[in-house]
Symmetry: C2
Subunit: 191 residues, 2 copies
Amino acid sequence: MIPPVRDLHLTSPDWLPDFVAWDRVYPGDEQRMSLAVGLARENVRRDTGGPFGAAVFVSDSGRVIAAGVNSVTRLLNSVLHAEIMALMMAESRLETYALGAPGAPACELVTSCDPCAMCLGAALWGGVGRIVTGASKEDATALGFDEGPVFPASWAYLEERGIAVRRGVLRAEAVAVLEYYRDSGGPIYNA
Amino acid sequence: MIPPVRDLHLTSPDWLPDFVAWDRVYPGDEQRMSLAVGLARENVRRDTGGPFGAAVFVSDSGRVIAAGVNSVTRLLNSVLHAEIMALMMAESRLETYALGAPGAPACELVTSCDPCAMCLGAALWGGVGRIVTGASKEDATALGFDEGPVFPASWAYLEERGIAVRRGVLRAEAVAVLEYYRDSGGPIYNA
């Protein structure tokens, strides 16, 4: 019998820590999205996963807490979308399972593409106060990716719980990364 | 500056590997759910997390591939619901990001409670062919847990993609674990 697995070791790609300017201030949505889209592009260029990047920022200061890229194929783990990686890394760094806990600074998730059903739920549980997205669900679907059961009511559910949402920031740049991935022959793992 | 986190080390509770009869056959839904509910109960009794357990089985043989319990508070990680742990462990053990890939045996996710929005999406991406649940979304909500944006259309979305669903197996036993957790004063982290 194969022994049951007990431990999972989840890593960022080797290039990621040096790709992010950890001591920089990212003042606005466009600068923050530029990092998320840059992560997505680099993930394709380095052949380390799907065309998606995300980062968690402190909303007021513009400091980046954590960054993530899609790691499904690299780590053979269907859960490891870019948003999941960024949220888990942010919680690990701040040593909390609730980023928006009372007394802690409000954080936001900036992602190069509208989150799938799993990641939309994960953003809610992670406690971010704001979500900013680049490419749309339709853009991802056009490439062949499935976003799962996300409905207008799903977004409304988050907004009713105090999460601010802005979509479509640097959309053209984000879509260009999706097309770069398609043209490079990357696998569509959620078909 | 706190150095950016690069690695995450995710473990099952120490008691879990010995709790599961890895070489046993679990022939039907009730036997499989009994394991999931037992995992949930033990997680409360051992004070290692929320009142939720899940396991991935090979549908035909009834062999258990992986098991998971809610690990949000233990590992300070809001993503680590029982279903997420079970799916990630199953994929790690089988070395695949698609449990239902062509040629591989069909697998199913058996969970002590209706999955939240995140876990419902994760089940879809994990590639299981069937989902079996115990307690209902309403049961979890009555305890104070939020299940997120899950709608009848969410379940329909999965069923349209070939995922079979059976809900309410051993529901009373699963609800008893929720009540056990409430009476023991466990934290409601997704309030």
